[in-house]
Symmetry: C2
């Protein structure tokens, strides 16, 4: 998932909305008795959905299908032919599995190329220094660059140094791990802050709470008015050692070679398929989504294969069970998420003129598909009351926990931030960042039962919301984008 | 640690001794009352040792000293100048910290060079395939080699294939993880078994129960009469994917380039220092040891920095506490362990003519220095009874568990196998193989309190055994070596 903090950098206007603390809201709902009863009457259909997916004919299919897909395509970085091949494959797969109105919608995306990336420590010891360039990083000169090193634990520490101490150096950021949301700012902005002080490159401790010599990539953002310098992650192990050596006043010299470069813009597609509503077809749509693109290390099974699969498989299974709700449920596999929500942005632009009529509710999973606990939610108070009543139906999936706001759906956060209601998967994702954006993002992280439960939860929630007699209320503001 | 199975391959004569099952022995000891009382009288001195190391002036020193050492020297592969520099440094450090008769003893060792190592999958997908060559592997031709792939889960499966299906191919071994002792045979013997069938290279799933895209190296052994082919580890993630693709009848092609080579023999040294006994100087010595060499990935903080440090620091602290036992306690930091116990072997050869008189007891730690539970032991029944009584003294360190045989001391296993008594650290090492022989072997694995406890345990056990009125009984047989 792309993270809040990076989002804030790109779109500071939304800061007030997404920086609010996650709090359990009070239970002071005043639903009409008739609506409450209406929702409760969906219990048998939720039971059936749960049964068919957890123990019936769909049991295990979500995992097996994702396994086949990730084995076939592996990593799917935006801009790559491989991602476009995967999108072609998924458009065919959507059709094959009975989704309706299957099509791709174009999005202009970044095309960044990772070249050879090598580094070594020349002093005070001699050794290989494994690095993994950050998305959008420029390269070094062809022969590499060699420079003295400044190691800091924070931006404040960097800023306190005289420019003369940083000028011409490589800055190594070794922030303490607090949380992804707090620590990732060093990945997103390290290069800019280092370059402002005259640095020629920057390295960051991989943004993870746990490491077995693992490298974690991710996007970073340059400023137009600050020189662009090469930037990469190093392991937590190496970062800790460099920090200690620096604190002991050792003179550290590092050589870096990176052939990374920006290959300009290219076109990708959001992958779209529907279960068309029996009453409302192009109005009051419920979106269920994940992103199909991934980083180029690992195979993107967790980020966001799992989220994509529990979303589109939910639609497939509802169709196969002949459960067609009043409203359309639209499965979307976003493109370009990892490089700044590019697919979602293009989609919003294309649909903006009629979005109030078009969309009822936005669902995404992009924070892991570990054991489901429930759903987290963003929306106004009225909407929340309806949603909580719907969530009570999820007992057969053992996933009835409520939390707010929804923060596992970066692509759909566009709409939620502006007052559209939405939800994302609440799951036991404590180890999510162990694997995130690393070679560890593989099918070994995924579990077949957890994926069935996530799919059942998305299918049941989407079905009920799409079939209710009322729309989920929204209070849409028109924040610029 | 080098593992039992590899040991058995090199020295099958010891198979009957070291393959016996680990069993808790019966408590039918008949110690004389006077010896029992004598041992019990050591409680105050054990209490003092525990107090000084756990809470007194040595608290935290073992960790801090190991941290400084690993930060300074990093990886220490046998044959490297860096290891010899580290040995020079440790000889000085031993002297500085008051150890006596400090000296190095020469050992002829392997000098294997890891060159550039790269691989990629060419079909059915195109992608980088991270590899890490196995110790002693030969290289590929300079331009690399490209071949079709056979993937097997076991030697039996490989043997069942017609030679024509394997000839000219790369064999990828993807054994299920059972335990290190059981699974490591595929690392040790994969290249030989593959070459027997005509393969041109072999790859193995990293020998670990858990992975975040991590590569694990280790030694492998060629047979003289079988062609030597290049061999390397791949990640568990990639291995699983290749296995599945192979099972789906996909045609897999891999390209490998390895510039690794054997640079011939060179000389290294075991690092030795003593606390000379007040009564017996060169007879009835108690050896306390770990190995100083490491693999070239990670910094060897766990394997075997921790074991080395709890051993030699135990001797330093006893000296500093003015606790000089009747017998000499000899700290040995072995060299060349990772390439086949080379330092220990040389030491045995040099001391063989008078070993019966020279040695009383052998201690080593080389299976992690996580939270100590007690000591495991190898020796005859009489020796075991004395040892168990000594172990009861370790209550202030909360490490009184007994297990048998001792299996965390590969270097000293030479002597134990032949009837000398000995012990190794019993610790909560469940995650040992997560980090073993990988870039994850760093100071992040070590814990200052655990290291203090390990050091206190080794110091107290060595002191009491070295100071008793009786030698620990032995039944030495003269198995060849």
């Amino acid at each position: 998932m792309i993270i809040k903090i990076l989002f804030l950098i790109i779109f500071p206007a939304y800061a007030n909305v997404i920086s609010k603390d996650r709090v359990e809201t009070q239970s002071d709902c005043a639903l009409t008795e008739s609506l409450k009863e209406e929702i409760q009457k969906y219990q048998p259909v939720v039971d059936r959905i749960a049964h068919e997916i957890l123990n019936g004919k769909f049991k295990g299919e979500t995992y097996n299908s994702l396994l086949d897909f990730t084995d076939k395509f592996g990593a799917r970085m935006v801009g790559s032919t491989n991602l476009e091949n995967a999108i072609d494959f998924m458009l065919e797969e959507f059709k094959k599995q009975g989704l309706e109105n299957v099509h791709g919608e174009k999005a202009e995306v970044t095309h960044w190329i990772r070249g050879v990336e090598r580094a070594s420590v020349l002093s005070p010891y001699e050794g290989n220094l494994p690095i993994l360039g950050l998305g959008t990083s420029v390269g070094t000169p062809k022969k590499g660059l060699k420079a003295g090193v400044v190691v800091v634990e924070s931006f404040d520490e960097l800023k306190a140094l005289p420019d003369s101490e940083v000028d011409g150096k490589i800055v190594v950021f070794v922030p303490k791990w607090e949380s992804y949301g707090k620590t990732v700012i060093y990945r997103a902005r390290g290069a800019v802050e280092a370059a402002k002080k005259g640095a020629v490159a920057s390295l960051i401790r991989s943004i993870t709470p746990f490491s077995i010599g693992s490298l974690h990539t991710g996007m970073q953002v340059y400023d137009d008015d600050v020189p662009k310098i090469p930037t990469a992650s190093i392991t937590v192990e190496d970062a800790s050692r460099l920090l200690r050596l620096y604190r002991k006043n050792e003179t550290i010299t590092i050589k870096i070679r990176m052939d990374d470069y920006d290959a300009g813009k290219t076109t990708s597609r959001n992958t779209i398929g529907e279960l068309v509503g029996s009453v409302y077809k192009n109005t009051s749509v419920v979106v269920v989504s994940g992103h199909l693109d991934s980083w180029d290390v690992g195979v993107g099974a967790m980020d966001d294969g799992g989220g994509s699969w529990i979303s589109w498989k939910a639609v497939q299974y509802l169709k196969a069970m002949d459960l067609r709700p009043k409203r359309t449920i639209r499965a979307i596999l976003w493109t370009g998420e990892e490089f700044g929500l590019l697919g979602a942005k293009a989609y919003e632009t294309a649909h903006k003129s009629h979005e109030q009529e078009e969309f009822n509710f936005f669902i995404e999973s992009d924070a892991g598909t570990f054991e489901p606990r429930g759903l987290d939610f963003t929306g106004n108070k009225e909407a929340e009351c309806i949603f909580k009543e719907v969530l009570k139906l999820m007992t057969p999936i053992n996933a009835t926990e409520f939390d707010s706001p929804a923060d596992g759906g970066p692509d759909v956060s566009w709409w939620m931030k502006r007052g559209f209601p939405g939800a994302s998967l609440l799951n036991k994702g404590e180890k999510y960042f162990w694997y995130h954006h690393s070679a560890g993002d593989s099918m070994l992280v995924e579990d077949t039962v957890d994926l069935d439960r996530g799919t059942a939860l998305f299918a049941a929630a989407a079905y009920v919301i799409a079939d209710l007699s009322v729309d989920i209320p929204k209070t849409v503001t028109n924040l610029g984008n």
